[in-house]
Amino acid sequence: MTEEKLFQAVGGIPDEMIEEADSYTFEKKPLSKFRLPQIAAVLAVVCLIGGGIWLGTRSMGRSNNHNAADPVGENGLEFQAYVGPVLPLTAEGNTEGISAERSVDYDFQDGKGTAAKITDRYLLTNSSGQEQTLSLLYPVLLSLGDAPDRLPAVSINGEAADTVWRCTDFDCFSYGTIQLNDGEDYPVLNEWSDWKSFAALFEAAGCASHTYAEGELPDLPLTVYRVRQENADAASAAPVAELSFFADPSKTTFLTYGMNGYHLKGDSGRYGVCSWLNEPRSSKCLLIVYGDDVSDILLEGYTDGSCEKKSEAPVNAVYEREETTLQALLPELLREWSINYRQGVRLSSLFFSAPEQLLTAMLSDLLCQYEPLLDSWHLNQYLGPAFLEDLFQKLFTGNIYYLAFSVTLPAGGSAEINCEMTRSASRNNICRHKKSDPPSDLLGYDMAAKLGSSLSFTSLEASLSGASRITMLDNNFGFDPAAGILQAKLDPAQDYYWMRLILTTDSGAEK
């Protein structure tokens, strides 16, 4: 069978399906032609030109649909960079006879930048007549590129808990990042910029039941050609080495690692992959072949990166062929990639403390999405030669992670669980054009009281610390720092709490 036959077969579908597809109305609202990062970039420029438009009024920015009693409206907080709420602890399995009291503290004194230090405390009580061991899960929105303090530190009765990281399936829930004008990356939930959409997605995804901590990579057989410099100090050698070969794209998928892409060599039917020898992208330069092996391999020197002008100088490189598997190769390349990542992007991030088995499982999860492409034995727009490097980068896609741990509660006994972390605020990057627009340095923090949790909460409290660093604009916790009200008793049956504030200096002047 050919793809054309299948294309013809698709052409033979019933009339009803053709009509349905033409008249179908999608439920979701159309995306703007201008994407969020583009808007952010444009507005950042406008902000710079305008230069500190918002300096005066403290009046609350409200959308027309909102009223004084409910200023954020039914969508909850809405921000360009909405980072999602602090989520409640949950448990796997039976929780009958277990009750939970929860208190959450937002500490703006100990936070960094716009982040606050969050302490999410739980007192779990076992009112049943027998000992119970609970498998608990603490959810948090993270990217592996986040700072290490974004990962909650969990303790049980004051002792550090033995936690296992779990990741949610990438196709269940993931988000990207947006770089705002302070140069930092902020997570942005896929197409969702408000609490209501987040909660709907979180519930629909059933994140807690789609998690993993371990996974196996596919055992695909591969042939690898490693190109390496022969003499490190061969200054007179050709600056570029090209490995060229014949391959039948219907029978061979080839990938590269650490090379500068691939090219077709004119009408010769040969493919070429190349690398600068004096400034290689990586200490490992590989041509990776899946399927039928490539043939008639040549290693030649060039003077230019596009491999058009052959070098008269000798090529200072050799290549070696080896047979391996994707299962064996990927961890090696991930380790290599992480060294480059540490040097080039960030010295410290959660990536470096993530358990290797979790990274392997995440790679396996990501590969599952590409498996049909790998199996199709040809290169296309989804599977570029630098696919593996792209795949590693995708590990940094934000997701809902869970910290899994267990606690044993004797009959009638209780345990205190503390989850401490630093969390960025939700924020905008817009200028204030009219009084009704929100201030550009408006920050949002919110909290889900019961979303996704199987625990039965009997009480819920919240408190503010370091309140001298903030000016509270409005909230539904019941906080009023100006009046000294820094603690609030909340209704555990109400799912959503939020606050909007502006950071100030300790002296009260605006930041």
Binding site: M1, V10, I13, I18, D22, P372, Y382
Partner: protein, 184 residues
């Protein structure tokens, strides 16, 4: 003018049928052809050929759905034109569609070339019938109409990356169905 009236014009061999067809379905057919051929001039010629083909087929054919009838003709003519235009060189939007659909098939071995396309179409239709409406529509819009991912993303409100992953899964499921049906 409604479909029955246009069909009646064809049966009466009234050339007004072509003008009315173009007025009602010209834009629809141009979109399909343009998606596949990527050339406005070629698309225009294909649409004109569509009316001529319809003139030759009606009568005796009395289409159940005129829109689907015209759309099919346009699609077939566009693919034929593409094949002729690029006998050697793969080009245009269709090459991408073929690449994507090829993922549902093994590259080597498999079924005999003698398998009837109509039977395969029935298998594909059965697969599509079992899908949720939105998935089915996305598949048909991509692989029947040849709509680009960007067009689908803008219309559906689904990000292009998400959409492409969703189509990957749909193709994977189709491949599984074809495998189960021993088509591959």
């Amino acid at each position: 003018m409604d479909d029955q009236a246009i069909i009646a014009l064809y049966w009466d061999r009234d050339e007004e049928a072509i003008r009315e067809s173009d007025a009602s379905y010209g834009r629809f057919c141009r979109r399909i052809s343009l998606n596949l051929l990527g050339s406005e001039q070629d698309a225009e010629e294909c649409v004109n050929d569509t009316w001529l083909t319809a003139w030759n087929r009606i009568p005796p054919v009395r289409p159940h759905s005129l829109k689907a009838f015209f759309g099919r003709i346009t699609r077939d003519l566009s693919v034929s034109r593409l094949r002729a235009r690029h006998a050697e060189k793969r080009d245009g939007g269709t090459a991408v569609l073929l690449d994507e659909l090829a993922e549902c098939l093994p590259a080597r071995g498999g079924v005999e070339d003698t398998v009837e396309t109509a039977e395969l179409a029935t298998a594909v239709s059965r697969f599509l019938e079992a899908l949720p409406a939105e998935d089915r529509v996305l598949f048909v819009r991509r692989y029947w109409y040849g709509d680009t991912l960007r067009t689908l993303a803008e219309e559906s409100g689904i990000r292009e990356n998400t959409l492409s992953q969703r189509l990957v899964r749909l193709r994977q499921r189709l491949r599984e169905e074809l495998r189960k049906g021993e088509w591959i």
